[in-house]
């Protein structure tokens, strides 16, 4: 089996005097979508931010594509092919959709074919090309955030709660988009919407109080209702 694209080993993170991550261990296999699940405050966002270098791990190591990136700076990680879509989407409200995407494509104007792909996944991007990103709806902003993450080829996508606050119809469009993305990118997605998680996840890791309490495959977890209830307090079958 190929080496995992991303691997966290005994990662501890402190924010000020608060100890958030207590020795996190898990791996993200290549070309699969790994779901990071857990209750609120379990440390999922902290995990992503630590990987992305926005917060520094106080102990432990992070390996990406065979190299140690524990101490790497955020811009360098982006240049290595990691894209980050934060919980608040991080779009630039004062810039247009076009400008947001222009900024995201560091190597010059966006590649035509990639733009076509984006327009195919999210037609709204083409429609609102010259609109100020701040005037878009919640769902459209999320689409923009993801478009930005893929306007240049990336190896790994870190996505934090992509369906948060979105209407069910939009979530459906998101599922299709992510299914399309899965074909050539590795993804690590933090989610609370279990319908979304179940539809897309290949691998799953569950966090609680800053620790990984379960890793395995999604079909495994989906089949075991008792396990679901124990880990998440809810059944994966509940549609949200």
């Amino acid at each position: 089996m190929a080496e995992p694209l991303l691997e966290l080993a005994a990662v501890n993170t402190h924010i000020g005097q608060y100890h958030i991550l207590h020795g996190v261990d898990f791996a993200v296999p290549r070309n699969q979508l790994t779901m990071l699940l857990g209750r609120n405050g379990a440390g999922k966002t902290t995990c992503l931010r630590t990987v992305m270098g926005l917060w520094r791990a106080s102990a432990g190591g992070v390996r990406y594509d065979g190299r140690d990136i524990t101490r790497a700076a955020t811009p360098d990680l982006a240049r290595l092919g990691i894209a980050y879509v934060p919980e608040n989407m991080g779009i630039f409200a004062g810039l247009t959709v076009q400008e947001n995407l222009l900024l995201a494509s560091r190597g010059g104007p966006p590649d035509e074919r990639r733009l076509e792909r984006i327009f195919g996944l999210f037609p709204a991007m083409k429609k609102f090309w010259h609109a100020l990103a701040g005037n878009l709806s919640g769902g459209q902003k999320q689409m923009l955030a993801i478009s930005r993450a893929i306007v240049e080829p990336r190896k790994l996508l870190l996505v934090d709660e992509p369906t948060k606050g979105l209407a069910p119809a939009i979530i459906g469009a998101m599922i299709d988009a992510f299914r399309e993305l899965k074909r050539d990118t590795t993804l690590l997605v933090v989610e609370q919407n279990f319908h979304f998680a179940r539809s897309l996840g290949d691998t799953v890791a569950v966090m609680d109080s800053g620790r990984i309490v379960h890793t395995g495959t999604m079909p495994q977890l989906a089949a075991d209702e008792q396990l679901q209830r124990r880990l998440l307090g809810l059944s994966l079958d509940s549609h949200q």
Partner: protein, 325 residues
């Protein structure tokens, strides 16, 4: 859905000017006052723009900004005194070349000092606003004292170049020549900044960085490097502003930069911390108000800026064009 421009704050400028027409009895006087107000506003804008941009992008407040204004003024004074021939020549070309040389010297000196200042004074206290205020205040004191050491405590008179003294007559209105130059320079500076911010990739980075520095880094840009460039540019702008201001007042003193800081702070608060456009509108409003009130009710003139600030904050508590962060 094209981007909708918030025109109301900008509309305040002509509204104020036209409103003043009701209170100023004669049209020629109104014209003189308006040009004077615009000129003052432009100069304040040049001096303030660097500060608001640095704050918006880097979240750094540089209380020593006034020192860079003074340094620019002193550098210009030295250059202009050395170029007495060109300054006193009755040729616009010679005069402008002298001013251009002075401006270059001022911006260069202020910029280089800004580089030093960012590295030595500011960088150790990124993120700590309390320490920034204290340290930059200390920097202001030290810079001002060093100016006194190098150039001495006496006020240096700075006469305007020959073709820029006096006034032209437009009908019955006397418009000072130098003030017209100030308006032109201010417009050029604003237009240049506008173009850079809206048409270049660096401008894009700055606008995005002002909103969310973290995300810009997550897109792969080493934005810290940009910080230094923007800081230096801000200091150079302060130096340029200092030159214009010194020629306007026709004198150079060590405390001139510090004295204008209160007005600058008022302008960037009115405009919205971090907004260049807001700073422009705010500066024009302040300049016009000071001149109109100075004519109509001289006793109120000095405090008029602050009253203007209070009024605007009541309407828009975050300034005319707030920038996200």
């Amino acid at each position: 859905m094209k981007a909708l421009f918030d025109w109301r704050p900008l509309a305040l400028v002509p509204a104020l000017a036209l409103g003043a027409l009701l209170f100023v009895p004669s049209a020629p006087t109104w014209l003189t006052l308006t040009v004077a107000g615009l000129a003052m506003g432009m100069m304040i804008f040049i001096m303030a723009s660097g500060l608001t941009l640095v704050f918006g992008l880097m979240d750094v407040i540089n209380f020593a900004h006034g020192a860079f204004i003074s340094i620019g003024a002193y550098a210009a004074a030295s250059v202009l005194l050395a170029m007495k021939v060109q300054v006193q020549a009755p040729s616009l070309g010679a005069n402008l070349s002298a001013i251009a040389a002075a401006v270059l010297a001022a911006a260069a000196l202020a910029g280089v000092l800004g580089l030093f200042f960012e590295r030595v004074v500011i960088r150790p206290v990124y993120g700590d606003h309390l320490k920034q205020i204290l340290v930059t205040m200390g920097g202001l004191i030290v810079c001002e004292q060093l100016i006194l050491v190098i150039w001495g405590p006496d006020m240096i008179p700075l006469p305007r170049p020959a073709t820029l003294t006096g006034a032209v007559l437009l009908g019955d209105a006397a418009i000072e020549r130098y003030r017209m130059l100030a308006v032109v320079v201010g417009l050029v500076v604003f237009a240049s900044m506008w173009l850079v911010l809206s048409r270049t990739r660096i401008g894009l980075l700055i606008r995005a960085g002002v909103e969310n520095t973290e995300m810009v880094e997550a897109l792969g840009y080493r934005i810290r490097r940009l910080f230094v460039g923007v800081f230096v540019a801000g200091c150079a702008l302060a130096g340029l502003g200092g030159v214009m201001w010194a020629l306007y007042q026709e004198s150079v003193t060590a405390t001139m930069g510090m004295q204008v800081m209160v007005v600058i702070f008022i302008v960037i608060i009115i405009g919205g911390l971090g907004s260049v456009g807001g700073c422009f509108v705010g500066a024009l409003l302040v300049g016009l108000t000071a001149n109109y009130i100075g004519y109509m009710a001289p006793k109120l003139a000095l405090g008029s800026n602050i009253l203007l600030m209070v009024l605007i904050l009541l309407w828009r508590p975050r300034g005319l064009y707030p920038v996200g962060k």
